[in-house]
């Protein structure tokens, strides 16, 4: 029983981070209608940014996360402007394989520049845990969760309260109407892509204290992110939060029973089942 509660608590902590990572993906899909297969590579870039800031500036990854957000977000806007903008009206095959190409370029580019070593950071709180009643809460998990929650709330506030955010939501809901009311769709897409990959990079930075980074780390997250987003409904931000928590808990609970490899199998099967039965997501309304 205790193990179950412990696993639930861990699942919520991990799931919170999954949520923020995946909000980036769902935001990109919502505004641009493109599934970005390279999204996990931006997570990898965020992790590397945080690692270098830790190694050379001595910055804690949690404090480096906002910088990673800005750096990778800027790279994202550049990517949108130079590459993705050109296939916005192309058939899906061009969109899919452009982002697949981007995935290959980013992963191998990282391999070129950073080498294939696994890198990790050491922080004072790395091995600490809080005792909350009968369960332990790992401090790096908790901090990552809190940072994710803050960034999630900040995004929510941005989308609700700022004119940019409102324009972006309008574009996601009805691109045609948004254009007619004078919203620059290109600018919105640039912003959405930058914001989306920036958030994913932010998530990458905050998990660095308990994970190692290498150029191929994206591969561990790619299907996971898609599962989160598909469960919540592609394009839905609230859905990504619920999906993230759900996946975190499923992963953590199945960890009690299955070896790590099969945990992923459970996720894949959930993923295919949701896509097949309710492509609009478990939470999404049928259109």
């Amino acid at each position: 029983m205790l193990a179950l509660i412990q696993a639930l608590a861990d699942g919520v902590m991990i799931g919170g981070v999954y949520a923020v990572i995946s909000i980036g993906l769902t935001l990109v899909f919502g505004v641009m209608g493109i599934v970005n297969f390279a999204q996990a590579e931006f997570l990898m870039l965020g992790m590397f940014a945080a690692w270098f800031l830790w190694a050379y500036v001595g910055l804690d990854p949690l404090l480096a996360a906002p910088i990673a957000f800005v750096l990778v977000g800027g790279l994202g806007m550049l990517t949108q402007e130079l590459l993705l903008r050109r296939v916005m009206h192309a058939p899906p095959v061009a969109q899919i394989f452009l982002t697949v190409g981007l995935l290959i370029v980013l992963e191998n580019g990282a391999l070129l520049v950073f080498g294939s070593d696994y890198r990790s950071v050491s922080t004072p709180y790395q091995a600490q845990a809080l005792k909350l009643g009968p369960i332990f809460v790992s401090v790096p998990y908790l901090l990552a969760f809190v940072a994710s929650a803050i960034s999630g709330l900040a995004l929510w506030f941005f989308l609700r309260a700022s004119p940019y955010g409102r324009a972006m939501r309008a574009t996601a809901q009805d691109p045609m109407a948004a254009r007619l009311s004078g919203i620059d769709a290109d600018a919105m897409r640039r912003l959405a892509f930058g914001l989306g990959v920036g958030l994913t990079a932010f998530g990458g930075a905050v998990i660095l204290p308990y994970l190692t980074v290498s150029p191929t780390v994206g591969g561990q997250f790619v299907v996971l992110m898609f599962t989160v987003v598909v469960i919540g409904g592609l394009g839905s931000i609230a859905g990504a939060v619920v999906g993230g928590l759900f996946v975190g808990i499923v992963q953590s609970l199945s960890g009690l029973v299955f070896p790590i490899q099969l945990q992923n199998l459970v996720l894949f099967c959930v993923f295919i089942a949701v896509l097949a039965l309710r492509p609009e997501g478990l939470l999404g309304a049928r259109r």
Binding site: A90, P91, I104, N108, A110, F226, F268
Partner: protein
């Protein structure tokens, strides 16, 4: 090109391919690359049945490929069954797997279909890695050593593999052309363009997609056996891998020209030697350089020529026609 000139060009190319090994070292690197070109051409052509004719962008064809490789090899190891027969068994299982994934995903299109098939391929990879009792797990499988024998599909020289791969490419291409000109091909075209309209004028769109998926799965699985016999060794991450198989075959077809018979052949002729050259010259320099170049080329092709290299040929023809 008119039909007779096309046929003449194809016959000429085939003749050249048949004679090529005469000029190459039978154990050498060049003939191996040529064999891979044909093999991957055949794989991409199998993919083309679903990806090109039905326009369903599968990113999970490694699932069928791996099933084929494992089925024939396991039957060979445990039952001593000739890989030729194992290839048929693999084809049957590959077709069943294709039906299994096609039924729940056929209503999906575009990005959703790509995602679902990608996940399916990954499921197969994870299963093959975990179910070590059957597959040997991450260590991989070796095809047992045997003396040269056509009946047992075992050759030390690459030349027989070269001709078998060439025959496979010709066969799969012939099947592709036959499907395209058959009732199934017309129905697939209708499904690709407008599912509702196709249904209303009497096309059973679900059955049409299912049949195409199964044919594609069967063919892809059979190429898996050819790969296993050529390489003597494989592991789950190679034959079930998204990057080495699923994305690669789709990419070959796309670079060459999706939905055309010549596309996968052109794509394989360009991509495979390019990869080999990149591996040869670049990977000894720095890790990642060949992959980096590969990704850049992919992006460039999609931005510059989204309809594939085959479209360049067509455009050139149209121009010369206009000039005359």
């Amino acid at each position: 090109m008119t039909r007779p000139t096309k046929l003449a060009a194809a016959a000429l190319a085939l003749l050249a391919a048949l004679c090529l090994p005469l000029g190459l070292d039978h154990q050498g690197y060049a003939i191996r690359v040529a064999t891979l070109v044909f093999l991957f051409g055949a794989m991409a052509q199998s993919w083309n049945v679903v990806g090109g004719l039905a326009n369903q962008m599968s990113l999970g064809h490694a699932a069928f490929f791996g099933i084929g490789a494992y089925t024939s090899t396991l039957l060979l190891i445990h039952a001593g069954l000739s890989p030729w027969l194992g290839m048929l068994a693999g084809g049957v299982l590959g077709g069943l797997a294709a039906a299994l994934i096609s039924l729940p995903t056929m209503r999906l299109s575009g990005h959703y279909f790509a995602l679902a098939t990608l996940a399916f391929g990954e499921v197969m990879r994870v299963v093959a890695n975990s179910w070590a009792g059957l597959t040997g797990g991450p260590v991989g499988l070796s095809v047992p050593f045997a003396p040269d024998s056509l009946a047992l599909f075992n050759f030390k020289s690459t030349v027989p593999h070269y001709y078998i791969a060439l025959a496979a490419l010709c066969l799969v291409t012939a099947i592709f052309v036959w499907i395209r000109n058959s009732a199934l091909g017309y129905r697939l075209r209708a499904v690709r363009e407008n599912v509702d309209a196709a249904e209303v004028v009497g096309v059973d769109t679900a059955r049409t997609k299912l049949v195409a998926a199964v044919i594609s799965g069967v063919l892809m699985a059979m190429t898996g056996t050819l790969y296993a016999q050529l390489n003597f060794f494989f592991d789950p991450d190679t034959v079930f891998g998204a990057a080495p198989i699923s994305i690669r075959v789709a990419l070959i077809a796309i670079v060459g020209g999706v939905g055309t018979a010549i596309g996968p052949i052109v794509g394989a002729l360009v991509i495979i030697p390019l990869e080999e050259a990149a591996n040869l010259f670049l990977s000894s320099q720095v890790a990642g350089l060949s992959g980096f170049a590969y990704g850049l080329i992919l992006i460039a092709v999609i931005l510059v020529q989204p309809h594939g290299l085959a479209a360049i040929g067509r455009r050139f023809q149209r121009k010369s026609k206009g000039a005359s």
